[in-house]
């Protein structure tokens, strides 16, 4: 019972230590020599192991980027797969240093879990997956439907709000893991599978005939997904926050994996600050002057990571949409590096 042992270690840490154990995450990570990163149990595009056990995905890249910034080595990450319901306890108990697992930023999670969200890696919303043979064209036609969902998610609550709000009946069956939920949906136990839209596309790939299933047009919620760290360690919070901002700024400035070393030689004032050839912004964060170079060299800029994992260059083929940069019609916007 993973959950019980996580909670016990949390209780032991809370009961027997005299001060916050986690005030110095950066030091702990450096001493350990490896970053411990909480991810999903296998969600293509966001965090999934390939057949050799290598983790890839947009959420995975955030952790690799942090490891690159800290160690200049993107492989120094231990990935800890977590189900939706175990993820927060794993962060609280100190088993992981950062949780990067398609997690929605909400006020209750930001305030009651002893955790802080560091930013938004992917702007998402919740949707419904149905068999095309049911000939349903809108979520409003789903009255009396049986719905499969993963337990411990915002999706479980949103679906209750949506059906109640629209005066529709429903039966929700909540499963421990995504695989169990999608299998039950495939077996016909449920008419609908619901989760964040990006995850619908990812899970659809696991079905025997993905083309027989379609995503309904309605998006019923806001699901800004992002990484979390423990409350109370501002330095570590800044590092994780600015790792994503560095990837976004790199894309905005046209810095990518192939030109990063070349552009590093530029003498434009703005680029000199970014690359640390002028000033010491990286050191102020607790990292090194060349932190942005390390990050982009390892995982590329935000756009590259997006394309490779979930976008046009991936099996998911999701359009940039809201996740396009702010100056290209989207809402991804990072504060400047200065």
């Amino acid at each position: 019972m993973k959950r019980v042992s996580l909670v016990l270690s949390l209780a032991i840490v809370a009961g027997f230590t005299t001060q916050a154990v986690n005030a110095q995450t950066l030091k702990t990570v450096k001493d350990r020599g490896i970053l411990s990163c909480g991810v999903s149990q296998g969600l293509p595009g966001f965090s999934a192991p390939d057949d050799k056990g290598n983790w890839t995905g947009l959420d995975v890249d955030i952790c690799r980027a942090i490891a690159a910034a800290v160690f200049d080595d993107a492989t120094k990450v231990k990935f800890v797969p977590l189900s939706a319901k175990d993820r927060f306890t794993a962060l609280q108990s100190g088993e992981i240093d950062v949780l990067s697992r398609n997690t929605t930023w909400t006020v209750s999670r930001d305030t009651s879990l002893g955790a802080n969200f560091t930013g938004v890696t992917y702007y998402d919303g919740q949707g419904f997956l149905v068999k095309k043979s049911l000939k349903v064209n809108s979520a409003l036609e789903l009255n009396s439907a049986s719905i499969c969902v993963q337990t411990g998610t915002t999706n479980e609550q949103n679906v209750a709000d949506y059906f109640k709000g629209n005066n529709m009946k429903y039966e929700v069956i909540a499963f421990g893991t995504a695989d169990e939920a999608i299998k039950a949906y495939e077996s016909g136990r449920c008419d609908v599978f619901t989760s964040d839209v990006s995850q619908l596309y990812a899970q659809r790939l696991k079905l025997a005939t993905p083309a027989d299933h379609g995503v309904l047009p309605e998006v019923i919620s806001k699901e800004p997904l992002g990484p979390l760290v423990r409350h109370g360690d501002d330095q570590w919070f800044d590092i994780v926050k600015w790792t994503l901002f560095a990837m976004l700024n790199a894309e905005e400035l046209g810095i990518n994996q192939s030109n990063v070393l070349e552009m590093g030689k530029s003498d434009k004032p703005e680029l000199k600050r970014v690359f640390g050839t002028d000033g010491n912004l990286g050191e102020q964060l607790g990292l090194t002057k060349d932190w942005v170079t390390r990050i982009v060299k390892a995982v590329g800029n935000y756009g590259e990571s997006f394309d490779r994992n979930v976008g046009a260059g991936s099996k998911l083929g999701i359009a940039r949409g809201l996740n396009q940069l702010w100056n290209k019609g989207g809402i991804q916007y990072a504060p400047p590096i200065r």
Binding site: L10, A14, G15, A20, S112, G114, V172, F175, E180, G232
Partner: protein, 383 residues
């Protein structure tokens, strides 16, 4: 007594020991609360009155999204108890049958029973739960193509839907008739035994019992009218409306838990029966009792003494194993409370403490009931 002291000295040592233990636990809890507060992790039990805001598929007590987490707790607890009690019942029945089959002189029967035990014991329980759920129940047709009986019973991948009874005018009289019949049937065997001892004439009880149980209610219905009206389920949209439903999650979990535990129970019962001396069987036969009667009247009561303690263990295991429910979406206590409620509120320590306390309590009550039963058997055998 601690340290072997007796009287006042021992008592004082014990009191001091308890006081020290209480003080240490208090310090730990207090420290934990401080640490959680510093880390901004919510603590305390205030969350229990907050609105849950999520749906639960199967509830035996009324529940809606706008109820509190306390209600969720009760819903989960009832679901856990129901699946455990029904699972224990079937596990016991199947377990005893398989054990008797295994001991039977019939070669084929004993081989089949042995094969069952070997197969079921050696496959992981989670695998069996998923097998029943996905492979067996999951292959049933969808509601629109459901298998129906008299157009009122429907079997589909949404479960079994049956007409549900709705009380009518005759219900009161009917229930009274049933209660009277049941009480009378329970008193009959005692009367029969007394008569046997006093007059030496045996009385076959069962025809009277059947007559009472069927006859009395029937008379009530004839005089006071139909007790219930049956509401027939109809297909509406994606699912059946009206009627009562047994969901596939419940069926799969009960099936898996009871067949799995039955294999262990069968071995316990077999060992128990074999522990009774062979002479007892022969003694029964020489009294002219049939094999079945000897088993029932002579061997099993003696075997029960050996069987009860490990049997209790199996009952506790079954209850604990019911927490695998979340794999197939059955809303038991572990799933809705230690799962959904925990991740929505983040109050891991409190919720796991409550949950573990409840399982502990269930275990203690089960053990107490079984000990009581064992004590009664011991007494009735004059041991």
């Amino acid at each position: 007594m601690l340290g072997g002291q007796s009287g006042w000295k021992g008592l004082i040592v014990q009191l001091l020991f308890v006081a020290a233990l209480a003080w240490i636990s208090y310090a730990i809890v207090d420290n934990a609360r401080d640490n959680l507060q510093n880390q901004r992790i919510a603590s305390g039990f205030g969350f229990m009155s907050q609105t849950a805001g999520f749906g639960v598929s199967q509830t035996l007590i009324p529940y809606s999204e706008s109820d509190s987490y306390t209600r969720v707790f009760l819903v989960g607890l009832v679901n856990t108890l129901v699946v455990s009690v029904i699972g224990i019942f079937f596990a016991t029945v199947i377990g005893f049958m398989v054990a008797l089959g295994r001991l039977s002189p019939n070669w084929l029967l004993s081989r089949i029973a042995g094969g069952y035990v070997e197969l079921v014991r050696n496959l992981p329980l989670l695998f069996q739960i998923l097998f029943w759920y996905l492979a067996v129940l999951g292959s049933l047709p969808n509601p629109r193509q459901s298998v129906s009986l008299f157009d009122s019973f429907f079997l589909s991948n949404r479960g079994i839907v049956v007409p549900s009874p709705i009380g009518q005018a005759g219900l009161g009289a009917f229930l009274i008739a049933v209660v009277v019949a049941v009480i009378a049937s329970l008193l009959l065997p005692a009367y029969a035994r007394r008569r046997l001892f006093q007059t030496g004439k045996p009385l076959t009880v069962w025809p009277y019992v059947v007559g009472l149980l069927i006859g009395l209610p029937l008379i009530a219905v004839l005089i006071f009218g139909k007790p219930v009206h049956f509401e027939i389920p109809v297909l509406k949209g994606f699912n059946f409306a009206g009627g009562s439903r047994v969901a596939p999650e419940f069926v799969a979990l009960t099936l898996a838990l009871s067949t799995y535990t039955a294999a262990f129970i069968a071995e316990i019962v077999r060992a128990g029966i074999q522990s009774v001396h062979k002479g007892q069987m022969e003694a029964g036969a020489s009294l002219g009792l049939s094999r079945g009667s000897t088993l029932r009247l002579v061997v099993v009561p003696q075997a029960l003494r050996v069987i009860l303690p490990p049997l209790t263990n199996q009952y506790l295991n079954l209850t604990k194993n019911s927490s695998l429910a979340v794999a197939i979406g059955y809303p038991d206590l572990f799933s809705v409370f230690a799962g959904t409620t925990l991740s929505q509120t983040g109050q891991a320590i409190e919720i796991i403490a409550i949950t573990m306390g409840v399982y502990l309590l269930i275990s203690l009550v089960t053990s107490a009931l079984m000990s009581f039963y064992g004590w009664r058997i011991g007494r009735s055998m004059g041991a």
